[in-house]
Amino acid sequence: MIELQERTRRISPSRLHEILLRYGCSSVVDPFMGLPTHLNFLKRHGIAVHGGDLLEWFVRVGEGIVVNDLTILRDSEVAEIVEMLPGRIYSLDMFKAWEGVFFSEEQCVYLGVWHDNVRNLRSDGQTGLAILGLWRAFCYWLQKTQNPDDMQDIPPSELAWSYIRQTEQWVIANMRRNTVRQTDVLSTINAQRADALFLSPPARNSFRSADARIWMWEAWWQGNPYFTIEHAYRDSLFGARAADPPAYARAIASVLSAAESYPVIVVQTTEQRIGDIEAIVRNARPNVEIVAPHPYETYLIATK
């Protein structure tokens, strides 16, 4: 049985939007974007958004719901993702390592089929939408291993179909240039100029307790069931080198230092961690406003 975390990072894009509007920001960079549904929200409300992350599947999803302005998935195209197509050779054993541990044989076969099918889509936009829809089906399966009697048995293709169709609804244009990139935090910050920088930095050593629903999907996308999240973060700023408190503080300070040209920096943290973060932010910027609507949702808004 895999453990699914109860603590989940909460980003409220509607609240972030309110903050950005209050500070007159019409563009934002998020170098720790994670699953970029919040950037999709901001895009829908006319903000130019730029995101970055080290995990490739987050970036691919960003290409579907952040960069992509037009491309959608039609019914026939969704059908070509969720089911095995005649005449195509599939690597059905690709996720056999997960069989019996996390998933049934049928589910592992489908994971292999989906892995191959999404790589045959016509555009990055479609690929991103499909990855997000399939991820939701994957999360459903993982949850069902914990609550087998509470949740419905839904055929894999039907489940994937409904979720992929849903992602298509989020495609929207904002007549601005929006980007996502797979790179580390400092590169993202330096690659873009925007009115605001939104930082939701990972907690210290968080990569060691990453949510299975996140790292396993990167493993799926890479086609490597033995992939580990430590691998992805190995040489990154918030990887093992930032394991102790002083190193972690230095990492945060270096991010804020690199962000000097941004007029507004919004740092999201929690009531529990604000003690560590606030001093660093105040050291970097003279004016800091704290908005703390909830213990798990505290914003430090730093201006020059």
Partner: protein
């Protein structure tokens, strides 16, 4: 000219002030429901169900009180939302996206109402989030959705279904998708404990930081948002300037004048649910739109059903499509049987809508009481 100050009679009485504020909040909730097409009384039912479910889910104290008001105000974001606004012509796709913003817009309004418990805004904001992250507006997922917001979502499903057993089946079907995998257990426990019966919940008045000036300002806010929604911004103030003066010159009592002032702020809410331009596209002196006007009058009065704090305005709203000669609707009231407030309101509405103001004279004695027409004309002259 300064408009009449509302709620002068309860200054210094916190309990009455809180009850009055709760009445205005209830009204706002009803207007929100009307704007997005929910049946009358839906908000009150949702609030009562949420409070009842909260007792089973172990939510109490401040969260439970906030949950009540979040239930009442759940749809206020629909007032002014582009998906429902009068005259908007959006594609189905764009309209759907606009509806995703209703909870966040509602939360913003809740934040403006200082008297509400703090948590109310966030419960409204996250009431439509889904466990699997496909909800709106924030696409929160899993345990990132606060438990009271989940309860509000359950209450919504229950109130919409009407039959608790059916609701249980649909919630169980959505386990792991719209709702958490074990959410249906909370609902089942509630169903077994209470049999699906929901008693009317009394508003927790003690938690409201009420004062009458703020309540009056809130009523003005409702009126402003209703007019903006209907594409007639500032209309109620123009009408109120006439009715305030006319009511004074015709010698209405302070209580009747206050009821009229409330009715002026609310009559526009009667056609908030219709998507076309409504009665404003008709000549206010023509009989052509009388059915529509009467329907809007009844709808506006129905918003005050069970609302003791504002009940005095209901007869005025209900009778504002009656004609002085007894040929009006819905009850064909004749001359003095029409409440004076309603006679003043209907004449003021027509006067405000007329392009050539003098034409109102032609309706004196038929549609309007001649002495009311004179008072309105005097009010208009003195205003000028």
């Amino acid at each position: 000219m300064k408009l009449m100050t509302l709620f002068q009679d309860t200054v210094g009485d916190p309990r009455t002030a809180a009850a009055r504020l709760a009445g205005v909040l209830g009204l706002y909730g009803a207007v929100g429901d009307a704007a997005c097409g929910n049946p009358p009384g839906f908000a009150a039912q949702k609030a009562a169900t949420a409070v009842s479910l909260a007792s089973v889910a172990g939510i109490d104290g401040a969260d439970r009180d906030a949950l009540y008001f979040a239930g009442v105000l759940h749809a206020i974001g629909a007032v002014g939302n582009a998906a429902y606004r009068k005259g908007e012509r959006l594609s189905e796709r764009m309209a759907r996206m606009e509806t995703w913003d209703v909870p966040a817009q509602g939360a913003r309004v809740c934040l403006e109402i200082a008297a509400l418990p703090e948590q109310t805004a966030d419960f409204v904001r996250w009431q439509a989030e889904c466990w699997d992250g496909t909800g709106y507006p924030d696409q929160l997922r899993w345990h990132g959705i606060p438990a009271p917001a989940v309860i509000l979502s359950l209450a919504d499903a229950t109130a919409r279904s009407g039959d608790p057993e059916e609701a249980l089946a649909s919630i169980a079907l959505q386990a792991g998708r719209a709702f958490g995998p074990d959410t249906s257990r909370i609902f089942a426990m509630w169903l077994h404990s209470f049999g699906g019966e929901v008693e009317t919940a009394e508003p927790p008045l003690d938690v409201l930081r009420a004062d009458d000036a703020a309540t009056a300002a809130l009523l003005d806010l409702v009126a402003n948002r209703v007019d903006a929604h209907n594409g007639v911004s500032g209309r109620w103030q123009r009408v109120a300037r006439l009715t305030d003066l006319a009511a004074e010159s015709l010698g209405l009592s302070a209580r009747d004048r206050e009821s009229l002032a409330i009715a002026v702020r609310l009559y526009g809410a009667g056609d908030i649910g219709s998507r076309d331009d409504g009665e404003s596209s008709f000549d206010p002196l023509a009989r052509l739109a009388i059915d529509e006007r009467a329907a809007h009058a009844l709808a506006a009065a129905a918003l005050l059903d069970g609302n003791d704090a504002l009940a005095g305005a209901a007869p005025i709203l209900r009778a504002r499509a009656e004609w002085f000669d007894g040929t009006g609707k819905p009850n064909a009231l004749f001359k003095n049987a029409i409440p004076m407030g309603a006679a003043i309101l209907s004449a003021a509405i027509a006067y405000e809508a007329l392009e050539h103001k003098d034409r109102i004279d032609t309706a004196a004695g038929t549609q309007f009481d001649p002495k009311v027409v004179r008072a309105i004309l005097e009010a208009a002259r003195s205003r000028a």
